[in-house]
């Protein structure tokens, strides 16, 4: 399983705009890189990222090979209510990794 690092503030005020950071371990193989034998290494990238907040998709991304290895994504969300924020990364083999974080809104 790939490793993921996520930063979601544990607490926020209602209506506050919070910054979310995510980092996933993934080679983001471009499909353009030759291996030692001269043959191209097959493409294998994270092609889709989705962030849901209490089940509603609030941010998503379609990614291409020009995104660096170990893809880093940071964006903002409005802290509306206490709940669970879910992050999912899907690769070229349609394998999805899911990670969650809790946020307490006061």
């Amino acid at each position: 399983m790939a490793r993921a690092l996520i930063n979601v503030p544990a607490k926020a005020k209602k209506g506050e705009i919070v910054e979310i950071k995510t980092l996933l371990s993934h080679p983001m193989e471009t499909g353009f890189r030759p291996a030692a034998d001269g043959k191209l290494v097959p493409r294998n990238i994270i092609k889709r990222f989705v962030c849901t907040y209490d089940g509603e998709a609030v941010f998503s991304a379609d990614l291409f090979p020009a995104i660096s290895a170990n893809p880093f994504l940071s964006f903002t969300l409005v802290a509306t209510n206490s709940g669970v924020i879910t992050f999912s990364w899907t690769d070229d083999n349609d394998e999805t990794q899911v990670q969650t974080a809790k946020i307490e809104v006061v």
Binding site: I17, F32, V58, D62, P65, L73, F75, T76
Partner: protein, 156 residues
């Protein structure tokens, strides 16, 4: 291990081989994106609708010490209200193997029209961001960057 540099070298060899044999063989596919390919990718994103320059800032240092992981921030001037927000930000380049970098989908719950990521740039080139607004209009911003190499790289 990487690298884009190696793949570009290969592409260059492929291109040179193609160029040398141009009189006897069909034209090889382009080794890289071109300004034209980027323009086409932007048209694919906008559906051919007009794109107004401005309101979109691509924040990348002009001089880069590496093209492998370029910290890139895009922000769009928008109130991000339920009535008036940025629906998507698409990022393009003109000299990587492909013109597309990523498409980021936002909602009023984003709070700010702001996204930060790290991208690969195979060479010095222009990076363009196009924002799709909730009213269906498009705006863009761009930056020209210079990509350099650190000393004593593995692929040297």
């Amino acid at each position: 291990m990487n690298t884009d540099a190696q793949s570009l070298d290969l592409s260059r060899r492929a291109f040179l081989a193609g160029a040398a044999g141009a009189s006897i063989c069909v034209i090889a596919p382009s080794a890289r994106a071109t300004p034209e390919a980027m323009a086409q990718a932007i048209t694919d994103f906008t559906g051919g609708k007009p794109v107004k320059e401005g309101r979109v800032v691509v924040d990348i240092p002009v001089l880069l010490e590496s093209g492998h992981s370029v910290p890139t921030i895009v922000r769009v001037d928008s109130p991000m209200s339920p009535q008036n927000y940025v629906r998507a930000i698409a990022l393009f380049n003109e000299r990587n193997p492909q013109p597309n970098v990523g498409v980021f989908h936002l909602t009023p719950r984003s709070g700010r029209a702001w996204v930060s990521t790290r991208i690969r740039l195979g060479d010095s080139q222009k990076v363009v961001a196009v924002a799709q607004m909730s009213d269906g209009s498009f705006a863009s911003g761009s930056i020209d960057v210079i990509v350099t190499l650190p000393a004593c790289v593995e692929g040297a």
